[in-house]
Amino acid sequence: MPELHPLQPEATWTALVTTDADWDEADPALLAAMFHQLVLVRAFEEYVLELAAAGLVHGPAHSSIGQEGGAVGSVLALAPGDEINGSHRGHHQFLAKALQHVAPKGFDLTAELPDEIRTVLLRTLAEICGLARGFSHGRGGSMHLQWKQAGAMGTNAIVGGGVPLAAGFAWAGRQAGTDAVAVTYFGDGAANIGSTLETFNLAAAWRLPVCFFVENNQYAVSTSVAEATGEPRLSARGPGFGIASWRVDGMDPLAVHLAMREAVAHMREGRGPTLVEADTYRYFHQNGPFPGSAFRYRSKQEEAQWRARDPIELLAGHMIRRGLLTEAARDASVAGAKSAMEAAGEMLLEPKPGGKPGERRIRPAEWPDPAFVDVGVRGDLSEFDGARPGGDDVAVHEVKFIDAVAEVMRRRMTADDRIVVMGEDVHRLSGGTNGATKGLKDAFPDRILGTPISENAFTGLAGGIALDGRFRPVVEFMYADFMWVAADQLFNQVGKARHMFGGDGPVPLVLRSKVATGSGYGSQHSMDPAGVFATAPGWRIVAPSTPYDYVGLMNAALRCEDPVVVIEHVDLYNSTGPGPVDDYDYHLPVGRAAVRRGGEAVTVVAYLSMVAEALAAVAESGVDAEVIDLRWLDRASLDWETLGASVRKTNRVLIVEQGPVGTSYGGWLSDEIQRRLFDWLDAPIMRVTGGEASPSISKVLERAAYARREEVAEALRRAGEA
């Protein structure tokens, strides 16, 4: 019979409950600030539902009515410089943070409201209605509210998608030497998704000052918490990850505030992340102006019980009891909030011409100009003004590719202490699995970060760093295939952030992604990511084929204010080629390809390791091909000048790449070429790709699955015949 010893997690797990004594002791100024924020947020949300009912909000209006206590109570425990983000249900948190920013000393709804507050109301309402004067010019709407100056870093429509980003805000605040904290708000449903759980782990491992604030409103759409998890006390998850956790009644704004004060102190003291679970309730359904009971997943009685514990009633009751508020002042505050909302609505709405009495429409001038649709998918590249391009003045000699990789990063990290590198094992093994970060951990111990295996979390963390803007993250993927496990962060978050939040917020993130085709790692480790990244607006793509190019393209990527994926190939790492003797500061300009061989017969378009393969194939075949090394692969950075001139000369195109046809890069390119250069083509555009399946482990099957020089030579032969 073994002995059984009960074990305890290290981290604490506490329920915090207020007493009347706490209410009696609470600072009157704090209670007043809470009261006015709560009333104003409630009035805002009621007004939004009114507009939604009138069909004036396009898309869902996720109301926070009932949940305001959690947001207001917690935000009032924060300081300027602290950063928050949230989920699809984020109006209340956004407003609390924005109001706190413009009126740090609070405000009084019975008096005339200052312009700054009116502007916050107006711009938030405009954003929710999709209008030009919104914070993101109407692009983001209800689910993407961002006002970085106020520390509101952007709400998120992917459940759990914002959580890793917040870890990045926390990292940036700490690295900058401040004691700032980050708070990420999410729901009970989001407590189950990988992004969130991965981030619990990463944040705890790195002791990041981030608070995971769970608004447990009992439902994810219509699914109850008990149905969705074996431990419905969601704060129980924290201790398992080593995170100090609190559970608190979210209908009690003072309780939330006191718990949050403890959590914030914990984080500011450098003791790592915290988790606060606020039990609360949304009075309405997932979205729109109807109660949840109307949809049958809960009862009217349940709703009535929760409404009886309304946070505003509770707070007003205590304030009246303490003589801090009169009933008349309470009612006047509610009326003041309501009229402030009507004034905001007045600016955006007008009577509908020919409509029914009282029917309104958006004032036409408030809509964004449709021409704005694609503006700001990427930045304007003005960051390259004054940058020094490479050229004949850069002395070159033969160098090993991988050494140039490590060396340019060393050079940039020395010159720019904003740069931080993260990835699996980048801090060990003498420069990670391939030597790309060789010697860097010793030189920059706090900026070379070996991560837990959680691509989604650490990519998101890097995304958060990029959005914060004080540092420039470089993420390494051990294999390109792992992009799929980080896909939400790469494509929904990092790739879309600039455009979705209005077009002018930089997202300077570099992703180094390795292609290992031919190395025997099989179906899940052999991908070329170029084709998939090329479909994602926002991303720029570079694919260096020589050490010289690597240095120049990495320097460009690190300077760029857009996310850039730098694709690397294992075949190149140990190759040698021309590289700089000692100049690691030049950059290769965005959108400039290289003609590696001039020719008349056909234009061969290649990138990465396939450039050398193509050149060898051309030499073998005797076809007078022109070989173009694209260098920049994305839609916005492709060198149409060079490519166009070549096609106009040769009238034939062969696009060569190594990987499978399904995720291949050349598809969109050939489409674009025929669109732009149709009248210059004398033959269908030819392509070399791998087969359909991803390469297998077996050496012969692997070789049969991808393309190299032999396949290019064969295609050139066919091109010659045709």
Binding site: N651, F678, D679, W680, L681, D682, A683
Partner: protein
């Protein structure tokens, strides 16, 4: 299997064409490749070849009707196919009564009164040629139909065009000593169209001309003033066109065309402006010219001229109008007369503004003089009317401020 013969798209962007003739009678058989319909566009008369052998069961369109592209024209059957109820078959295939002559829209067939000029026949079979080869052929006036393709599927590729061009320049060479005494410039479609239209006009229209001249110093000064201030640049020709438009508005009996049944007097003044392009003369129409301000007219006409030069005018921009203004002033031509552009009633030929000796108050003086010749279709317009018009028009040129108001 019975099938429908539909109006083929003979030229790119063609909307409709006229069914000219049925070379095969109803119930007659035909072999693959036999012409089974003759259709006419404003550019060509084309035999539509049968794709396979068969029987012409029913003609749905009467000769002379315009039919939109893709609309059914006839019901065909396979050789030997027995059809019990032709009407039922037609209903099934066409889905309703066939398009009739009274349907006014281009979706159906309609009466066509005006015959376009015939041109050589082409067939509709697809000829494989690379996009580049097609463009080069176009630029060098080669017909892909005349070439043989050496590419895959017999596709005509760049090298075939190069060879054809080389052969073309080689051709005379074998004849060595006898150097050709002329170059043959193959007719472009445009040149053919110009030729056909204008010779028809010259044959059918009784024309008289009247001349006039105006002192235009004031007009030139006004133009200088306008261009110093206005955003839109106004040319001398714009002023002349504007004056003609005002004259037409003042004397509406000039704003006419002749038709067999009646003289058609238009409410709006639509004037054509002759534009010389690389490929020949085109005459785009400025519509409602009497309503346009001078700068508006200048803008419209600059747009038309620009697009004419790029060959981008639409067919509808070339149709209509009662008067063309043609101006050879830039070439220094003193005076000339021009051929009326049917069915318009007149054409105004404008020479260069040149200094000439004139008599002012009984004494010789130098003035800038512009000479114009108006050629007029005598059928709708008599000489006295044209003379009145000319006097009004010249008056406007000499007191140009009236053009502006």
């Amino acid at each position: 299997m019975a099938s429908l013969l539909r109006m083929p798209e003979i030229a790119a962007n063609m909307i409709e064409a006229v069914l000219n003739e049925w070379p095969v009678a109803e119930n007659a058989t035909f072999a693959a490749g036999d012409p089974i319909a003759t259709v006419e566009t404003d550019k060509a008369v084309v035999d539509v070849p049968a794709e396979s052998a068969g029987v012409l069961v029913r003609c749905l369109i009467e000769p002379g009707k315009a039919v939109s592209v893709g609309a059914p024209m006839a019901v065909l059957a396979a050789p030997g196919e027995v059809i019990d109820d032709v009407d039922a078959l037609v209903r099934r295939l066409v889905g309703g009564p066939p398009a009739t002559a009274d349907e006014p829209t281009p979706a159906g067939a309609r009466e066509v009164t005006q015959n376009a000029e015939p041109a050589s026949a082409t067939t509709h079979a697809r000829i494989f040629a690379s996009p580049l080869a097609r463009r080069l052929a176009r630029e060098h006036n080669l017909r892909v139909e005349d070439l043989r393709g050496s590419g895959p599927n017999g596709r005509i590729v760049r090298d075939d065009i190069r060879q054809a061009l080389a052969a073309r320049s080689d051709e005379p060479a074998p004849a060595a000593a006898a150097r050709p005494r002329y170059d043959e410039i193959p007719h472009t479609r445009m040149r053919r169209a110009i030729a056909t239209r204008l010779s028809a006009a010259a044959r059918e229209t009784p024309v008289f001309t009247i001349r006039g001249s105006a002192r235009v110093d004031a007009l030139l000064a006004l133009r200088g003033e306008l261009n110093a201030s206005a955003g839109v640049k106004v040319s001398v020709n714009d002023l002349i066109v504007a004056a003609a438009a005002r004259a037409h508005a003042a004397i509406p009996d000039m704003n006419v065309v002749w038709t067999e049944e009646a003289v058609r007097r238009y409410h709006d003044v639509d004037l054509s402006v002759a534009v010389a392009t690389e490929h020949g003369l085109v005459t785009p129409v400025v519509r409602g010219a009497q309503r346009l301000t001078l700068s508006g007219l200048a803008e419209v006409s600059a747009g038309l001229v620009g697009r004419a030069r790029q060959g981008k005018l639409r067919q509808d921009e070339l149709e209509g109008g009662t008067l063309t203004v043609t101006n050879l002033g830039v070439y220094g031509t003193e005076e000339f007369s021009a051929v009326i552009n049917p069915p318009q009633a007149a054409i105004l030929a404008v020479g260069a503004a040149r200094p000439e000796a004139v008599v002012v108050d009984g004494a010789p003086a130098v003035a800038t003089v512009l000479r114009v010749t108006l050629s007029v279709d005598h059928r709708p317009v008599d000489g006295a009317l044209a003379a009145r018009w000319m006097a009004h028009f010249l008056g406007l040129l000499e007191a140009p401020i009236r053009i502006l108001v």
